[in-house]
């Protein structure tokens, strides 16, 4: 326990140093993440899930979850958790990950289309781990013409004609599961920090002669926000329960479903309590809410994942919903 806390503490200190809001803004504006990437790569945290025998730290997934949440909380503008998972997948296939490069997860349809309405966030030096069926390819990416998407975020796509840096098959790994579960963790982390930001604002902002946090109407809304942030965190941990690089699609579904529902409520309340200032670009709020909105569209909405849970429940032989939930939390999905 103590070792985990030390690990998390040192990671959070690093995040506070390399990924303050100013650095997040700079990365958005010109894609310059050199300092951030340098700091994170040097720390070795992106090799957390790679076994020690292959030069990583061999951390368990459960121990890595707090790191993923923290990265989400600091809006770390490089695909941190994605790279950690991709490097573990690549190591499991016996291949090498190029150092100094982040890797986004690119679960694709058989036709090669990304299974997401919006692309994963990446930066210039990123690679993409593309999965089609059981086939994986590590490809360079291209940014194309546009500098930013409708959410004013930078995303890219793999270069289809480039020669892969690695190619392998791994039947038990599903990158859509990983991408959605990591998105849920990013969302949960961001919601926590958004709650802190909102609490600070309502304590500071004065109206009617006192801080607005003294009004019950505001207090009750922020209590709901806290409930949602806690739910999202618990859900994210459920999504990232797994071993041997295999997640359970039903647990991922629980995570993304609850993360999306929680994000909608959180974004709405955060904006409500901030008032007009929260709409401005200059205020920090939009850094969080813009991402929380975009993440809802990433790798399946709640409806997509909820339907998967619903169908699985209908197919299961468990007599009650609670029995089904126990099976899902304890077990592994039949492939």
């Amino acid at each position: 326990m103590a070792v985990e806390n030390l690990l998390l503490d040192s990671f959070v200190r690093l995040l506070a140093k390399v990924s303050p809001p100013t650095a997040v803004r700079r990365a958005e504006a010109d894609g310059d993440v050199a300092d951030i990437l340098g700091g994170i790569e040097e720390s070795g945290f992106m090799d957390a899930l790679v076994p020690e025998s292959r030069g990583g730290s061999g951390l368990s997934l459960a121990d890595a979850v707090p790191l993923f949440l923290a990265a989400g909380g600091y809006l770390l503008p490089i695909p941190f958790a994605e790279t950690a998972v991709a490097r573990a997948v690549i190591a499991a296939a016996g291949a090498q990950s190029p150092p100094g490069k982040t890797i986004v997860l690119w679960p694709a349809t058989h036709a090669g289309r990304l299974m997401s309405q919006v692309g994963p966030l990446c930066e210039r030096s990123s690679l993409a781990l593309v999965q089609r069926g059981a086939e994986f390819q590590l490809l360079p990416i291209t940014f194309g013409e546009r500098r930013a998407d409708p959410f004013r975020m930078r995303s890219a796509r793999p270069e289809p004609d480039a020669s892969p840096l690695a190619e392998f098959a791994l039947p038990h790994v599903d990158l859509l599961h990983w991408a959605a579960a990591i998105t849920a963790a990013n969302m949960a982390g961001a919601m926590e920090r958004l709650l802190e930001l909102s609490l600070a604002h309502v304590n500071d902002r004065q109206q009617f002669g006192r801080s607005i946090g003294k009004f019950q109407a505001i207090q009750q809304q922020l209590s709901v926000f806290a409930e949602r942030a806690v739910s999202a965190r618990v859900a994210a941990r459920i999504g990232l329960m797994g071993s041997n690089l295999t997640l359970d699609g039903r647990r991922v579904a629980i995570a993304k479903s609850v993360a999306n529902e929680s994000a909608r409520a959180s974004v709405s309340i955060a904006h409500a309590v901030h008032g007009a200032i929260g709409i401005s670009e200059a205020h920090e709020l939009q850094l969080y809410t813009r991402r929380l909105n975009r993440w809802q569209l990433s790798f399946g909405s709640d409806a997509y994942w909820q339907r998967r849970v619903g169908r699985s429940r209908l197919k299961s032989s468990d007599a009650t919903g609670v029995d089904f939930v126990r099976t899902v939390i304890a077990g592994t999905e039949a492939c």
Binding site: A62, E192, L195, E196, L199, V202, N203, G213, K214, Q216, I218, Q219, Q220, L222, S223, V224, A226, E227, A229, V230, S231, R233, V234, A235, R237, I238, A253, I254, S257, V258, E261, D302, A303, W305, Q306, R307, R308, V309, G310, R311, S312, R313, L314, A319, T320, G321, V322, D323, F324, V325, V328, I329
Partner: protein, 384 residues
């Protein structure tokens, strides 16, 4: 704030407690075959003394109480498993519910050795049932303003006043009551004490209150010069408020704050299995996903209770979310079953749905209203 979000660390049921589950399941399957769903949906609102005694015969009342007082000496997770199975089977558990969950543990913690030896073995044998006397006509959410008064006499205490919305006082043997022993309502939480009131004493009158579903779970209890012995006081005089609050984490964090509408959800699931639409699948998945998260949260609090902590704030947060979930289920299912007006209504489903649509507003009233709980969370966030 961070402390609150990190307060729900992962916890799982130990193997020993999990093994207990099969015993409970097979007992319930044998004991309670084929009851109508609307009866099962009432579960911890359904009073069935013989059923409670059949649990006592198995040693399943007072499961966590020490063996020396007739209890089972099991851990908190075993009780979680038992309660979970009772609720999802829709077992009628109201008779022993309050004594088992609250009054027994309270007497164990604050009672004298004599009180423990007098009450606890009888609670565990299912011989005596408790109700909890909290609300009064002018003290609902503002519980600290209770006016029912116990005045010291030569023989003990003289009790005057009344309690209302007491669940099953008319079928219980004892009430664990929060009353004033000094000062006035203006003194708030100072001067409150807890008493065990024998409901057969002269001067006690109990009147059932029929609710909007036609059930008579509630009652109003009047005390007119009820002479209590000195040994009716539980814990310290004037410490009633603190004692009541120490039990809140137990009262608010159990599966019964999440599962009150699951009989309906499972019934509807069986129906959807025969004929489902995409919308039904999404709806079912949405509810199951929330259930999974809430159950994990309840387990996390159970772990902290087992560690000897008193996570009152976390329990308030879970209860608010859990009761919202319980209230959402009848709303969602009402929308689903009437989506096609040409489909004939299913009688069992309709009576269960109607019961829960009507009674579910009470889920976020009983045990602390939604607004009070959110006020507690706001205090935990540093806003009050």
């Amino acid at each position: 704030m961070i402390a609150l979000t990190e307060a729900f660390a992962g916890a799982s049921i130990p193997a020993g407690a999990e093994e207990f589950r099969a015993q409970v399941k097979s007992f319930l399957a044998e004991k309670l075959p084929d009851r109508p769903s609307s009866a099962r949906a009432r579960s911890w609102s359904a009073f069935d003394a013989p059923f409670s005694r059949s649990l006592a015969e198995r040693g399943w009342l007072g499961l966590t109480l020490p063996k020396q007082y007739g209890g089972g000496g099991y851990d908190a997770f075993s009780r979680f498993v038992l309660v979970e199975e009772l609720l999802i089977a829709g077992a009628p558990v109201a008779a022993h519910w309050m004594g088992d969950r609250q009054s027994g543990p309270l007497i164990l913690r604050y009672g004298t050795e004599e009180q423990r030896r007098f009450y606890l073995p009888r609670i565990c044998r299912g011989e005596i049932f408790f109700c909890i006397g909290m609300s009064e006509p002018n003290a609902g959410s503002d519980l600290a303003s209770v006016r029912t008064k116990a005045a010291r006499t030569e023989r003990g205490w003289l009790l005057n006043g009344s309690k209302i919305w007491t669940t099953f006082a008319h079928k219980s043997h004892y009430m664990l009551a929060l009353v004033r022993t000094s000062g006035s309502a203006a003194d708030r939480h100072l001067g409150l004490s807890q008493f065990v009131v024998d409901l057969t004493l002269p001067g006690v009158a109990v009147k059932p209150i029929v609710d909007l579903c036609g059930d008579d779970n509630f009652s109003e209890v009047f005390f007119e010069d009820v002479q209590l012995g000195a040994d009716a006081l539980v814990g310290k005089e004037g410490e009633g408020w603190t004692q009541v609050n120490s039990e809140l984490a137990f009262e608010r964090s159990g599966p019964e704050r999440i599962y009150s509408s699951l009989i309906l959800l499972d019934l509807w699931t069986r129906r959807v299995r025969r004929d489902s639409s995409e919308a039904d699948e999404v709806r079912l998945g949405r509810l199951i996903a929330r259930l999974a998260v809430l159950r994990e949260m309840s387990l996390a609090i159970t772990q902290r209770l087992a560690n000897g902590e008193s996570p009152v704030l976390e329990a308030a947060l879970l209860k608010d979310l859990g009761t919202e979930f319980e209230q959402t289920i009848p709303q969602e299912i009402a929308d689903a079953v009437a989506a096609d007006p040409e489909v004939e209504a299913d009688e069992d489903l309709m009576s269960t749905l109607a019961y829960l649509m009507q009674i579910s507003p009470a889920f976020s009233l009983r045990g602390g209203t939604r607004e009070i709980l959110r006020g507690m969370i706001a205090r935990g966030l540093g806003l009050r």
